[in-house]
């Protein structure tokens, strides 16, 4: 009789705690679901904040970074002398200037007509170091911009490049506007 009572008391306490945990879980789920309705967030970097510090190529959890150089073709000046393009005939890398060009030869070009060349980036080769971006921004139109290529990004909870980024250029963006590419400044 005494033992039965004890078991009943334990059961009662257990049931009470169970309902408590259940209610708490439900409250968290409902409370947060209301807020989450605004949609999934993805990582993206703001090119206007980017300082091309080379962390993107080093800090990604993927061996080859998900950050790639994106060529905004509409902005390109089709220059013969692209700040990122490494000429195929370059024999010796001894002038220090070549160290500023694409280290993997990911920028390739096609002759269009005198004196214009069309440039495109081989995504598999690009490592997101941003060397070409730096020079295109400094000497050219700024059509080369670093962006998280969303198909490659595994969308970590906390982007490890964002953690290393000195310019705090990484933000979570909406699924509708997954790229933060910049056009020309209206003023200039």
């Amino acid at each position: 009789m005494d033992k039965d009572k004890k078991i009943k008391r334990r059961d009662f306490i257990n049931t009470g705690i169970r309902f408590g945990i259940g209610a708490g879980l439900g409250a968290i789920a409902v409370g947060l679901s209301v807020r989450s309705a605004s949609g999934e967030a993805l990582w993206q970097l703001d090119p206007s904040k980017c300082v091309q510090c080379d962390q993107c190529s080093k800090s990604c959890v993927l061996q080859t970074s998900a950050v790639k150089c994106i060529h905004v073709t509409d902005m390109c000046g089709y220059c013969d002398l692209c700040s990122g393009y490494l000429h195929a005939g370059t024999k010796e890398l001894d002038t220090a200037a070549e160290n500023r060009l694409c280290p993997t030869g990911a920028i390739q070009r096609k002759y269009i007509e005198e004196p214009y060349f069309e440039y495109h980036i081989v995504e598999e080769l690009c490592n997101g170091c941003g060397k070409c971006v730096k020079n295109c921004g400094a000497f050219g139109n700024g059509s080369l911009q670093l962006q998280v290529q969303q198909k490659l990004c595994v969308n970590c909870n906390q982007c490890s490049i964002a953690r290393a980024c000195p310019a705090e250029a990484f933000t979570r963006v909406d699924t509708k506007n997954t790229y933060l590419l910049k056009g020309f400044d209206k003023k200039s």
Binding site: S33, M75, C79, N141, V154
Partner: protein
């Protein structure tokens, strides 16, 4: 510097058009600042031929429907494995579901999203209203807990990809001494505390950062990640499921919830006959032996101990809270703003050092006021102070409760699973002879 660079680049080129371009470039460069962004230095060319500018190449993400598929698969796998364990009592079924989960949640979905990490998303969303939590994170956090509340840790048994991969490696499990288990069992508690602290302050997701197997799932990770994963898997051959038992922070919550579960897998389907066959069946040391009558101590002494421990508990709460809060500044350094403020302060003190970190130069060029940064950093450090007090106090409370729990004597006359640490893998069921008799009775009834 810019002009020098250009001269070196251009010295090899001599044709007319490039000369014009160099001229324009130098002219334009002299007009505009060095690092200004996106300036139309060279106008868009007017092509003579009918050349069209190709579109900018960006890739779109997969449709969000796939995320709802994940939730559906999770619920399906959870239901199936719970049915396998509790109703069918069928170990091989559990094994195949764990293989499926490993392939789907692990290798196909690349280990993201997993419930272990989702607890940080939930914490971050609770404490930071600006953070948009994905719906899948909420679902992945609550669904396994909900199942555990009713059926025990069936999620750990084979739906969790991290558990599933370790379960396959548990080939020669050895039994650990209870005190080692208790001691190592404190690690996940501290890990959970840190994970919650960093998530609540909106700093980092450390559980995801040190996820040991996600690198294997992606076939792509840093050397350190592969190393940790490999070491854990090799350890797992002898010490079964080392991550689940001695690291997993989500396991701490599941352990607590599972203690109050409505139903739970039992070793014997009927009355235990104390045959001792299951004694070494559990690779996770989650089977409690019968207590025997002799162990039942003098009640009065136990009550005395209970009172002492209950008195000690508030003291433990304060001591642990104070101790942990002493280290709040060290915790806070992980936060970017705090680190930046600290570096700036250090830089101010020793002016004229040769190497200035990029963070500082970037911050200075951004033109944001230093005062604001210091204020923000201060606020974050204060949050860490409060958070570390709460974390320490909670750890102290758990210590106290564990001590008090030792005095409460539960009489057992049969082999029972420990509802907290049992992972519901259903291995012990294969050893129970009562199971066989039940099977025979079933067979006989079918033949008749």
């Amino acid at each position: 510097m810019g002009k020098e660079l250009q001269n070196t680049i251009f010295s090899t080129k001599r044709d007319f058009s490039t000369k014009v371009q160099i001229f324009i470039m130098v002219l334009v460069l002299s007009l505009f600042a060095y690092n200004s962004f996106a300036i139309q230095r060279f106008p868009k060319p007017e092509f003579e031929g009918n050349y069209k500018i190709p579109p900018t190449q960006v890739t779109k993400i997969q449709s969000p429907a796939l995320q709802y598929l994940d939730i559906a698969v999770l619920i399906g796998a959870m239901s199936l494995i719970t049915w396998m364990i509790l109703k069918k009592r069928f170990r091989r079924g559990v094994f195949w579901i764990s293989v499926f989960s490993l392939l789907y949640f692990g290798f196909y979905r690349k280990g993201c999203i997993c419930p272990v990490g989702s607890l940080q998303n939930v914490t971050m969303a609770i404490f930071n209203p600006d953070y948009k939590i994905p719906f899948t994170a909420i679902a992945f956090f609550t669904i396994p807990l909900g199942f555990t509340l009713f059926f025990g840790r069936t999620f750990c048994a084979g739906v969790c990809p991290l558990g599933a991969i370790q379960d396959l490696f548990a080939m020669r499990p050895i039994s650990l001494k209870p005190w080692i288990r208790y001691l190592l069992g404190l690690i996940p508690l501290i890990y959970l505390g840190l994970a919650l602290l960093y998530a609540a302050t909106g700093t980092d997701f450390i559980v995801c950062r040190y996820d040991p197997f996600v690198g294997l799932f992606r076939h792509n990770a840093t050397y350190l990640m592969f190393l940790i994963g490999g070491v854990l898997l090799l350890t797992g051959i002898f010490i079964a499921r080392p991550y689940c038992r001695f690291l997993c922070p989500y396991g701490v919550i599941l352990n607590l919830v599972s203690r109050f579960s409505r139903k739970h897998v039992s070793i014997a389907p009927g009355k235990c006959i104390n045959c001792k066959l299951c004694e070494h069946a559990c690779p996770y040391d989650a089977i409690d032996k019968p207590t025997g009558l002799g162990v039942k101590n003098d009640n009065r002494e136990l009550i005395k101990k209970l009172i002492i421990y209950c008195m000690i508990t508030p003291l433990l709460v304060v001591v642990c809270g104070w101790t942990v809060s002493r280290y709040h500044q060290d915790f806070a350094v992980v936060n970017f703003k705090v680190r930046l403020a600290k570096e700036l302060m250090a830089n101010e003190n020793k002016a004229g050092t040769a190497l200035i970190p990029t963070e500082i130069t970037t911050f200075k060029s951004s033109g944001k006021p230093l005062e604001n940064l210091y204020k923000e950093a201060n606020a974050i450090v204060h949050r860490f102070y409060v958070g570390s007090w709460i974390m320490g106090a909670l750890i102290g409370l758990v210590f106290g409760l564990v001590l008090a729990r030792l005095t409460i004597f539960k009489y057992r006359d049969e082999y029972l699973v420990n509802k907290g640490s049992c992972l519901s893998c259903a291995r012990c069921l294969e050893y129970c002879p009562v199971e066989d008799t039940r099977g025979q009775i079933l067979k006989e009834s079918l033949i008749e």
